[in-house]
């Protein structure tokens, strides 16, 4: 299956077919069972090394990948960029070659430049590369874990088991993505993942925060949140990325909240089983009211917990079945 994640880099959700995404979700179900055990650890990747290379700050993604690697019994190395030779002017290429020479089997890369993980993958001779967020481009593991959390919650609402359910939960599913789509790599990956799985996606954002090429994404665009709310099965909220300059694209935070925030009043108009997702970190009181973030249909903390299982599946699959590795490294 050429569109499976097995034995390949994960640079973009677009490289996966529907079956390829479902494969990740199904393998993640098995790892979710492992995560529920008293000792949530399996020996699967013993002796393999997972190195995280984060050129941009992150709490949950880095911690989540490293937790996932440890639960698979992999060795974890982590490059603290602020304390590394990058500060002495070492190039990305030299950093990557050094890390690979130190025995990394997987590089988990976050970079502020779109496309950096793809470039890193070209420089790697042996190691697999996992994109943990690159600029405005993509954040594949986040979109896959959102899909996992949504599938599990939808199946639970219907009283069925999510394991083995394929993409059925996404048939006719209406996903509404609200907020700073333009600067959001999560939104780009989510759109691809949800559409590939069979859902329809609507974007809702101030005109200044919509990507210019949104017409080509195969989504609907809606300028008025109140029009779109009532039909949504999933509301995916995005953070205002002030570090990427989105603060200058809206008149004020208060006005943003008034027009595009999921306030209590707006949340009351959602269908009772509508799910709310947020990739974090949340800015309570801006894109989401605090009480809404803590409501039972908000998957936010569930997403974090599921994230570990999904990232275990990603690491397991990208390292899966490499006959070239027989007999050890050259």
């Amino acid at each position: 299956m050429a569109d499976s994640l097995r034995g390949r880099d994960l640079l973009s959700v677009a490289q996966l077919s529907r079956d390829g995404i479902v494969e990740v979700l199904e393998v993640a179900e098995a790892f979710a069972e492992v995560s529920r055990r008293a000792v949530p650890k399996v020996p699967t990747l013993r002796g393999r090394q997972v190195t995280s290379l984060f050129f941009e700050e992150s709490t949950r993604t880095r911690l989540s990948f490293e937790t996932a690697a440890r639960r698979l019994s992999a060795d974890v190395a982590s490059l603290a960029v602020a304390a590394s030779s990058v500060k002495k002017g070492e190039s990305l290429r030299d950093t990557v070659e050094t890390v690979e020479a130190l025995g990394a089997d997987v590089l988990v890369v976050r970079h502020r430049a779109s496309g950096a993980p793809e470039q890193v993958a070209r420089w790697c001779s042996r190691a697999r590369v996992v994109n943990a967020g690159d600029g405005w481009h993509e954040h594949p593991s986040q979109a896959l874990l959102d899909a996992f959390a949504v599938r599990a919650a939808r199946c639970a609402q219907r009283g069925t088991s999510s394991e083995g359910s394929g993409a059925a939960a996404f048939d006719g599913l209406r996903v509404l993505i609200v907020g700073d789509v333009r600067h959001s790599r999560v939104a780009r990956s989510e759109v691809i993942a949800y559409r590939t799985l069979g859902a329809t996606v609507t974007l809702c954002a101030p005109g200044t925060l919509l990507p210019r090429d949104a017409e080509g994404w195969g989504v609907e665009v809606c300028a008025d949140l109140d029009d779109a709310l009532g039909e949504a099965d999933v509301v995916s909220l995005l953070r205002l990325q002030t570090e990427r300059g989105s603060g200058s694209h809206v008149p004020s935070l208060a006005e943003y909240t008034a027009t595009f925030g999921l306030t209590e009043r707006r949340a009351a108009r959602l269908k009772p089983d509508t799910l709310i997702t947020h990739p974090g970190p949340m800015t309570r009181g801006v894109e989401i009211a605090s009480s809404v973030a803590d409501a039972p249909n908000a998957l936010v903390t569930k997403q974090v917990a599921d994230g570990v299982a999904v990232r275990m599946a990603i690491l397991f699959l990208v390292l899966g079945g490499e006959p070239a590795r027989l007999g050890g490294a050259p």
């Binding site: 299956m1 079956d19 098995a30 069972e33 699967t44 079945g321 006959p323 027989l326």
Partner: protein, 189 residues
């Protein structure tokens, strides 16, 4: 994802092609009945016995043994399911995927665990299962029940209860279910 027989497509997409039918459903039922009696006899009853089927082929067989044991002794023994993909020693060298999640209904500390699988071949699946089981407690004893022992062991492992010994060639493929046992080959889909 799911092949017609309910299994996920195997990595590489190969499917089983049957050539010869060696046992039919009645033969399998008779073998499982005898094995059930042997389990009761060997353990002098069913105190502390837990059946654990290996995903996926072993799970329906464990359930069938459970139904027999209920008939013979009038007791319900706990039945669990175990997936061993994460414990295999060949994860790095061939495509391995979990078949389905593990579900162990009870703490296995002190229990007599009867591992149930469809086919005993190299013994590597059973080796992985022994590692996987230890995550769920420290069983007092572990026994192995297989519907078919086809030989070609690569590890010092043997079964306690065997439905049928069937000598095979190493490159042949065997399918053993409640519906019967067939000899054939895996061919690319």
């Amino acid at each position: 994802m799911a092949a017609p027989d309910g299994r996920r497509t195997r990595p590489g997409g190969a499917v089983f092609h049957s050539r010869t039918r060696l046992l039919d459903a009645d033969d399998v039922a008779r073998a499982l009945r005898r094995m059930s009696h042997e389990i009761v006899e060997r353990n002098a009853g069913l105190d502390g016995v837990v059946l654990v089927g290996l995903q996926r082929g072993g799970v329906p067989l464990a359930e069938a043994l459970d139904a027999n044991l209920r008939e013979i002794e009038g007791v319900d023994v706990p039945v669990g399911a175990l997936d061993v993909a994460f414990y295999r020693d060949d994860v790095a060298t061939r495509p391995v995927l979990p078949e389905a999640s593990s579900a162990i209904p009870t703490d296995l500390g002190g229990a007599t665990v009867v591992l149930v699988d469809d086919v005993l071949f190299t013994g590597r699946t059973v080796r992985a299962a022994l590692s996987a089981l230890s995550e769920f407690g420290r069983p007092g004893r572990i026994q192995l029940a297989v519907l078919v022992d086809r030989g070609h062991r690569e590890l010092p492992i043997r079964a306690d209860y065997v439905g049928k010994n069937l000598p095979t060639a190493k490159d042949e493929s065997l399918r053993a279910t409640l519906d019967g046992v067939e000899l054939g080959a895996m061919v690319p889909a």
